[in-house]
Symmetry: C2
Subunit: 241 residues, 2 copies
């Protein structure tokens, strides 16, 4: 074991934190301040300059991108005969907020994330874990580089905690699929609620999906949400997404 | 110069293609078939298996992710005192379809992209260039790895062809900003067109932005598009995005 690792783990004033991180990550971190930053929510961050706080939000932006890229490659290689629509959708399922929050909790982030609980309600607390997970990916990337981060994510996170085959089977979210497709192709998408039928107790909602000024799908249901879902599904069908 | 490069550039049966790519990329490509694939639009692709065609779409998925990650790091380091909202927005401006199409054209992709022009109209032809650019990034990544791709993008593409400071000044698209924020935070966003005032020649449209069932912004304008824009801006303001 190199001297610097020995020092970090057993002698440095930060040895307790280093060991906690080593248990979590499976490796001895280099630049500790990056990891501390990754676990610092803006509710406890201080302004550093020009109104920017030393919170994990910037690392989250970076980590989100690195994670997206690693997962893209994993799926690209895992499914050589699936098209890009399938890959995009499966990636969304893997890295959605909900999954990342669960992942953060499983990894024990509740002990690590610093936040002011007077400012965050119980619902929001959950989402801090996913944000911190992305920020951690950003920290690992800056500390150790892309290939290291990729191996860490594949061997330590994806293989142990994400069941890709089960996710593949879960129901498709046509709305995200459609929005993603439109963003990718530079198209404007609009979900329009047509006036629901007046004077009835069971209101029927009509939602139309309008893409670049053209209606491409429509759904009628007794809830706005379901009408929207159906309209998105029809639009995906019509566009062959 | 190593023998393999000499062979590729001067002796191999593909030497003409290798030289074209070297002029474009600034390096001698390794696996030529990846680059050929990157420039093959689905209109000229053949089915390979289970309905998947050997077109550039899968590489585009991968390249989009790698590009997003590289640009994220560039901006992260270039703007140490800007928050993640600023970084996200500036990245969208850099890698939007329009910019990538222009970039592809500047790089001379029109000579390289294979497509069936009976199946693609003039408008669509432009967007093939941006798709091919993303696919090319995917090909470089698979051929040469992340660090090489990052250096290629920074030194050969971003520094020469993208004026980040000018993009920084261009007008903000509040709608994309809002949609991105909602996707990031797992919220449902809906742009609702309330009934426009009947019987008038100058119709006034009211658009409401509904996030997770709550109206957070509203805009009234004489065009649906402008009403939507205004509503998105109000919503961004209200949410502090």
């Amino acid at each position: 074991m190199p001297v610097s690792r020995l020092y970090k783990l057993y002698l440095s004033p930060h040895r307790k934190y280093v060991r906690t991180l080593k248990n979590l990550l499976g490796f001895v971190p280099g630049n500790l301040s990056l990891y501390r930053l990754a676990f610092r929510h803006k509710s406890v961050a201080k302004s550093v300059k020009q109104g920017v706080k030393n919170s994990n939000e910037r690392l989250e932006f970076l980590g989100d991108a690195v994670l997206g890229s690693v997962v893209a490659e994993v799926l690209f290689k895992m499914y050589p005969y699936k098209d890009e629509g399938f890959l995009t959708e499966l990636r969304s399922k893997m890295v959605n907020r909900n999954n990342l929050n669960q992942l953060g909790r499983k990894l024990g982030f509740e002990q690590l994330v610093e936040y002011d609980n007077r400012m965050i309600n119980a619902t929001r607390q959950g989402s801090l874990m996913g944000d911190a997970f992305e920020a951690l990916v950003g920290a690992v990337y800056l500390d150790k580089g892309y290939d290291f981060t990729k191996n860490f994510l594949i061997n330590h996170i994806i293989k142990s905690h994400i069941d890709i085959h089960t996710l593949e089977q879960t129901e498709t979210n046509f709305k995200s699929k459609l929005i993603e497709w439109c963003q990718r192709h530079g198209k404007d998408v609009l979900f329009e609620v047509a006036q629901n039928q007046d004077g009835e107790s069971n209101k029927l909602f009509t939602v139309q999906v309008n893409i670049d000024g053209e209606v491409v799908g429509q759904g009628k249901e007794f809830s706005k949400k379901n009408a929207e879902k159906l309209a998105a599904e029809k639009a995906c069908e019509a566009l062959g997404i």
